[in-house]
């Protein structure tokens, strides 16, 4: 099957790639563009390990086609830290030991970033429902919730 040329922006960088029409954005990110920070846990939209931002919307990259990235801005885990260092969410995940194996972490950080952009001061229930699409099998979520709460505080009142 002939490939389609797609022009998009990934983590602020203009990017062109060729992909088969049936390839998902997740496959393109991982296999074609070597952005393996975005993980595959299920490829059916049920685990959130592949969470990315498309423009400002939280999306499972496994449920979106690569060709659909055309003209959009994609943010992946590789684009969360800045020249100033780790994003407060990344820092707080480390400080709170909110990762054990870490396979869910990229997706959770991307999803939590999206949450905090929309709800800068979320209560525990809001956090739990926002992150309900991101499975973590290791932590029982306790420390993840605390890390997100702490990051929200930090973002509201930078130290």
């Amino acid at each position: 099957m002939s490939k389609v040329q797609v022009t998009t922006s990934i983590n602020g960088e203009e990017m062109e790639f060729l992909c088969e029409p049936q390839q998902t954005l997740l496959e393109v990110l991982r296999e074609t563009l070597s952005r393996t920070g975005t993980k595959e846990g299920c490829a059916t939209g049920d685990c959130g390990a592949c969470s990315v931002l498309v423009d400002d919307r939280l999306v499972c990259a496994c449920l979106m086609l690569g060709v659909e990235a055309e003209g959009h801005e994609i943010t992946t885990i590789e684009g969360i830290a800045t020249d100033d260092g780790l994003h407060p969410l990344q820092q707080k995940f480390l400080e709170h030991a909110a990762l054990q194996c870490g396979i869910c972490t990229p997706g959770l950080i991307v999803a939590a970033k999206s949450l905090l952009e929309k709800h800068p001061d979320p209560d525990e229930t809001t956090i739990r429902y926002w992150l309900a699409g991101n499975l973590c099998r290791c932590t029982g979520y306790d420390k993840i919730i605390r890390a997100v709460q702490d990051a929200a505080k930090e973002l509201a009142h930078p130290a």
């Binding site: 993980k39 590789e78 969360i80 480390l94 194996c101 396979i103 306790d142």
Partner: protein
């Protein structure tokens, strides 16, 4: 007691050394590596749960453009019988046939062939071009059917093991086991109260979020390098060598970061297949399972059927207890009935008990270890029965357990006398915990249960390198599944007397560090930690020798304090203390680089006990259970990294809650799993759970330099019964079977009401 010991870094919760790479997407997990010239392998799986393979024709697939190699059962060497050790071990022939079926397929999803092709899609098209002719046989799908004397046979050559004489007929009961002490009949006669119960728990999956993945690169001399996500690359190497009849020296295994395992990544599935495909294709072959393959063909925990009977006097003293337990092994022998039988009564000091256990073949995937394999199921039965006993006796359930609790010197039901253990400390901590005494909301219920796991030691190696600026590199061989690098760094820093930040830990591959058994059995912090401490002591001895030589004094006149060599009091030398950095900087002049080593077979793993408290609210209309609160109390011996110990307790609690409330394998009449995805096999999500409160009890293990017991497995044991007992408390009905899913609860409430 060692409580008084004042540690500098042990017991703190610093940031893990591998953390930044894991929060930025840099860390490489099983599926994240790509090699030049790499192709993709896929597995063709059986559409039947039980069938004879009449014919496999791969010629059309082999002829396809972009297909580089195809393998099936005939490409594998004749599998020998014989045991392979370790947590993922078992019979080599079974292991080999589980990886690739030979004459029979034994479960839906059993591999029958594999291809390697230029892309995943071409590989899938090639799978579709493979013709397999089957003679479909009747599948054996549950314990009752499997154990019936006229059952169809999963394996015509399976004769029950451990019977006094070899039976004359084959059977689906692969092995039996018995355990006992005293006289149970007499014990029950002395009882004032007797409770009996029968409990069924379906299979549950470990549910690690990362599917199995590997790359194998086999060269023309037959040597192969394999990158994979594994709980133990040395044991994966051993298994692959056995299955392929290769020399271990021709196999190099590199462990990637691992995205969860919980016991499920102690056994090979893809790796030998990838090595063969790569050998035929002369290219690196990458294989990744889909989530559906993970559910259909990798090890769940055994489904079980367990009966327990417990008798006690009015004061709560247990006079006798019996248990009968059948464990589904899946298609090959090896269900964890042994640990199930040995753990069921482990927390209690019993004079009279008897346990009978059965390892039963069914046409389902071969079970694999899942956190404290065997114990959650058997202890669920006992802990539910004790809850009923406490109700009958009108006793507090913690008091009932305290009355019978094992303690230092108690002879464990599985043989040895317990050294210092923390069961009573955990029970007392639970009793005094505010979460145990605080009032419950209207209609809610509270339950408690005890958990236990043996923990293991086994073999570990470690090297400690002192870099030229005095920083420390620890090399060990246990994949870091939940923060163990941080624990190793903490123990090394404490032993050497240097800051935590001065130490880094790396996981060596099979060619760059000594053998280590799997990251499993809650052994890493205990056994590998012990090796790291010993290797650091080796460094200290060398540093003292070098300082002595530098100062011109005897070695025994040099002390090691706070990370530096100092002259012993009274030594007549006008010298300044030498730090690790000073000694490292001068190493060339004093004998060369500083390298400490240790390898050991760790003895004295300490049993870890726990008590859990669950609060639930049950919606009587819909049957939905809301977990209002959950408290995990556990004896860690010594918590090296406090937050990661809590993390083990919280994660195990969540998995146990999932098993108690929701998770189960659902099969149709043909043995096809109906819920092979995370949508229908629903593990707990963030909105299902409350915060999980932890209390770490520390009764140091006398066999470890810092008192470590190991904490990874015990946490999943108690939540099943704690939750079931809480539901019992809330609805007033004992529901014996798990999961306590809404339909089951509604049915029980309806049945009780009618």
């Amino acid at each position: 007691m060692a409580e008084a010991v004042d540690y500098k870094v042990i017991g703190t919760s610093p940031i893990r050394p591998d953390g930044v790479d894991k929060v930025t997407g840099r860390a490489q997990y099983g599926a994240d590596l790509n090699l030049p010239n790499m192709i993709y392998g896929r597995v063709l799986r059986s559409p039947h749960a039980h069938a004879r393979i009449k014919r496999i024709d791969t010629s059309r697939a082999e002829a396809m453009k972009g297909v580089y190699s195809v393998v099936s059962g005939k490409d594998f060497p004749e599998a020998e019988h014989g045991e392979i050790g370790g947590e993922g071990g078992g019979d080599i022939s079974d292991l080999a046939k589980n990886i690739m079926a030979r004459d029979k397929v034994l479960y839906h999803g059993h591999p029958v062939a594999a291809v390697a092709a230029r892309s995943q899609r071409v590989a899938e098209e090639a799978l579709a071009a493979i013709e397999v002719e089957y003679e479909v046989l009747t599948p054996v799908l549950d314990l009752d059917t499997a154990m019936a004397s006229d059952a169809p046979l999963v394996d015509e050559n399976c004769y029950t093991k451990n019977l006094p004489e070899k039976p004359d007929k084959p059977s689906n009961i692969a092995a039996v086991m018995q355990l006992g002490r005293g006289d149970v009949d007499q014990g029950f006669e002395q009882a004032d109260v007797i409770v009996e119960g029968e409990y069924r728990i379906p299979a549950a999956h470990q549910g690690y979020i990362e599917p199995h993945a590997c790359i194998a690169n086999t060269n023309e001399s037959g040597q192969s390098t394999v990158w994979c996500c594994t709980q133990g690359h040395f044991e994966f190497r051993a298994m692959t060598a056995k299955v392929l009849n290769m020399n271990v020296a021709d196999l190099k295994f590199v462990a990637s970061e691992i995205g969860g395992g919980f016991g499920g990544k102690t056994v090979v599935y893809l790796e030998p297949v990838a090595v063969l495909l790569s050998r035929k294709a002369h290219r690196p072959v990458k294989m990744m399972m889909t989530r559906e393959e993970v559910f259909r063909a990798t090890g769940p925990a055994s489904g079980t059927h367990i009966k327990v009977k417990v008798g006690a006097r009015k004061d709560g003293t247990i006079t006798a207890a019996t248990a009968w337990m059948a464990y589904e092994a899946g298609a090959f022998a090896g269900a964890p009935m042994g640990p199930g039988a040995m753990s069921v009564f482990a927390p209690y000091d019993l004079e009279n008990f008897k346990v009978e256990a059965f390892d039963v073949l069914v046409n389902k995937p071969k079970v694999a270890a899942y956190r404290a394999p065997g114990a959650p199921q058997s202890m669920h039965a006992m802990e539910c029965a004790l809850d009923e006993l406490a109700r009958k006796l009108g006793m507090d359930p913690i008091d009932l357990r305290l009355k019978n609790a094992a303690d230092e010197g108690t002879q464990a039901p599985y043989g040895p006398k317990f050294p210092a253990i923390g069961l009573k400390a955990c029970l007392n901590a639970a009793k005094n915990h505010p979460n145990y005494t605080k009032p419950l909301p209207e209609g809610a219920g509270r339950g408690i249960a005890v958990g236990f796991w043996f923990n293991v030691g086994m073999q570990s190696s470690a090297e400690v390198h002192i870099n030229e600026n005095g920083t420390v590199t620890v090399v060990e061989g246990n994949p870091d599944i939940g923060g163990s690098r941080a624990s190793m760094c903490l123990m090394a820093a404490e032993t050497l007397g240097v800051p935590y930040e001065q130490v880094r830990a790396i996981i060596g591959d099979t060619e760059s560090t000594g053998f280590s058994n799997v990251t499993g059995g809650s052994r890493t912090t205990f056994a590998t930690g012990m090796a790291v401490v010993r290797a650091c002591e080796d460094i200290i001895a060398q540093c003292r020798a070098r300082a002595a030589a530098t100062w011109g004094v005897d070695e025994d006149q040099v002390l090691w304090e706070d990370g530096q060599a100092t002259p012993a009091p009274g030594v007549n030398a006008d010298v300044k203390p030498l730090s690790l950095a000073d000694i490292a900087a001068n190493a060339a002049k004093t004998g060369g680089p500083l390298l400490g080593r240790a390898s050991l077979n760790a003895q004295g793993a300490g049993a870890s006990f726990s008590v859990n408290i669950a609060d639930v609210q049950v919606d009587r209309e819909t049957g939905k259970v809301d977990v209002l609160g959950f408290t995990a109390i556990q004896d860690a011996g010594r918590a090296i990294h406090k937050a990661y110990v809590e993390g083990q307790m919280q994660g195990g609690a969540a998995q146990g809650l999932g098993w108690a409330l929701n998770e189960e394998y659902i099969y149709d009449a043909n043995g096809v799993m109906q819920n092979a995805g995370f949508l229908d096999y629903r593990i707990p999500v963030a909105s299902d759970l409350p915060m999980i409160d932890c209390e770490i009890v520390e009764v140091p293990n006398p066999s470890h330099p810092y008192g470590v017991r190991g904490v990874g497995e015990t946490p999943i044991v108690a939540p099943l019964a704690a939750t079931a007992n809480a539901v019992r408390d809330a609805v007033g009905i004992r529901i014996h079977d798990l999961p306590l899913s809404p339909p089951r609860i509604v049915a029980a409430i309806d049945a009780a009401g009618s």
